[in-house]
């Protein structure tokens, strides 16, 4: 009688552990963002795995009416070319000032890495991709929100044009204010992930990331990088170091 009960309990325990490891172990095998032994980063990765496993795929963030467009603050870098700004980075800042002076006609977005056709896209090239519009909520990690209309092209269309290789898993991007970040293919191919060159029906203002910013509607605001400069598609997670999130103590996956 006792033996029988112990056995069932053990079986229950084994089944429970197997279920729990289904959530954790694939993470180990699939090259998640590095944690550097940091408990909080392990928690971030656990949340990220759980989201991708448990939530239905390609659900759409809510879209709003034009009348719901709201005021929107511009925070952090508001002009990468302004050398008096405390966040100014010489390496890309002076180049940005030059591009801005020329009305961004010389601006180019490079797309490199695990793509069949690497290349550079001018603003006009991006504007030739199918034009899309969305009115979505920008959700800042600071706790504020704003609704705006974003006009631009889908990142998906750019990636498909460049021919993403089947091994590709991450889309890395860099900005003129010297930040590097990345999203996984799930976010990158999402039908609301935009390369926005317009905002509220006009060209994208400089404080909001001119000439082109990323808009990831399913993510916290800080993943929507302003002042885009470069896109690199990779097969593995790349930690950019001091110019990225993780080594500054921030969660790469951001969402809950």
């Amino acid at each position: 009688m006792m033996d029988k009960k112990l056995l069932t309990r053990r079986q229950a325990l084994t089944a429970g552990l197997a279920a729990a490891s289904a959530l954790v172990l694939p993470g180990c095998a699939e090259d998640l963002p590095p944690t550097y032994g940091h408990l909080l980063r392990m928690g971030d990765n656990f949340t990220y795995r759980a989201q991708r496993l448990l939530l239905p795929s390609h659900t759409m963030a809510r879209e709003y009416a034009r009348s719901e467009i709201s005021s929107m603050p511009a925070i952090g870098m508001t002009d990468p070319g302004d050398s008096s700004n405390r966040l100014f980075v010489e390496e890309f800042g002076s180049e940005y000032a030059r591009l801005r002076h020329g009305g961004f006609t010389d601006w180019q977005l490079s797309i490199e890495g695990s793509v069949a056709r690497p290349g550079v896209y001018s603003l006009a090239d991006l504007q030739r991709l199918p034009h899309k519009t969305q009115i979505t909520r920008h959700t800042c990690e600071e706790g504020w929100t704003a609704i705006a209309e974003w006009n631009g092209a889908l990142l998906k269309d750019l990636l498909e044009g460049a021919g993403v290789l089947p091994t590709a898993r991450y889309v890395n991007y860099s900005s003129y204010d010297a930040w590097d970040d990345s999203i996984d293919m799930w976010d990158a191919l999402h039908p609301q992930t935009f390369l926005a060159y317009g905002m509220n029906g006009r060209e994208l203002p400089v404080p909001h990331g001119a000439p082109v910013r990323l808009r990831v509607a399913t993510q916290m605001g800080y993943k929507s990088m302003k002042f885009l400069r470069r896109i690199v598609v990779t097969d593995n997670f790349v930690d950019p170091g001091r110019t990225g999130l993780i080594q500054n103590g921030w969660s790469w996956s951001a969402g809950i």
Partner: protein
């Protein structure tokens, strides 16, 4: 042979796991709140729109340092854009990661506790007040005793007091589920999957505001809970919730 009469081991384990995660969430939640200590209603809330409540809790509580607003549209009351020109206090990097890590602990503990609470009859027999107990007079009596600090230490035979049962039920079956759901409503990815959350609470910012007030209620509960433990014998109560009570008491303590 000693008879075990106090809290079951699973109650003690879940109590402490929940206590540690709730405290971690209160600290990290407060750290996150300090980044923008304003509460709003609806979907939109930011420093350029009027706040529902402005909490004076950090140096971010100030209005200067914004550039001249630029209108998005031609219309008279067009929404605007403005640049923030000052550094803010932002403890969100560790705050949010700790908040979610502790939330996972609370979710797993909560599932374990709910399952055992139902299966063992703990909820039915000890926690949820019976209809015969619940009368306005009984509640009034218990409030009067608490107000005069005449709180009887819960004896193993008597079980929890009426107000005690009611406050535990309020926290377990209303406040924690409310915090859980309003917390999820603040995730862009989760509301993409379950937009009903936004409708339930009237938008992201309403959910954030409700989340804050539910936190205030939980914080008041924690203070009252600690006060009651102190009033009824901290040593005995802490021992009862950690090691458990091994022997039936022969007399009332107070």
């Amino acid at each position: 042979m000693s008879e075990r009469v106090g809290h079951s081991a699973w109650v003690r384990i879940s109590h402490w796991l929940a206590a540690f995660s709730v405290i971690a969430m209160m600290v990290s939640g407060y750290a996150m709140l300090m980044t923008n200590p304003n509460l709003y209603w609806g979907e939109v809330g930011n420093p350029l729109v009027p706040a529902f409540i402005e909490l004076p809790v950090s140096k971010n509580y100030r209005h200067e340092g914004w550039s001249e607003p630029v209108a998005f549209f031609e219309s008279a009351n067009s929404p605007v854009s403005s640049n923030r020109g000052f550094e803010i206090l932002n403890l969100n990097s560790w705050g949010r990661s700790l908040h979610f890590l502790a939330a996972w602990v609370l979710v797993f503990t909560g599932c374990f506790y709910l399952l055992l609470g139902v299966v063992s009859g703990h909820f039915r027999n000890k926690l949820i007040p019976g209809f015969n107990e619940l009368s306005a007079a009984a509640i009034r009596d218990d409030i009067r005793h608490h107000a005069r600090f005449q709180v009887k230490a819960p004896d193993s035979r008597d079980g929890y007091g009426l107000l005690q049962k009611l406050s535990y039920c309020l926290v377990l079956f209303l406040l924690i589920p409310l915090l859980f759901l309003t917390g999820l409503t603040m995730s862009p990815l989760i509301t993409a999957a379950y937009p009903i959350l936004l409708d339930m609470f009237g938008g992201y910012q309403s959910a954030r505001t409700i989340h804050f007030f539910a936190f205030v209620a939980i914080a008041l509960f924690v203070l009252a809970h600690i006060l009651m433990v102190l009033l009824t014998g901290a040593g005995r109560q802490l021992r009862g919730m950690t090691l458990g009570t091994r022997k039936a008491k022969t007399s009332h303590d107070g």
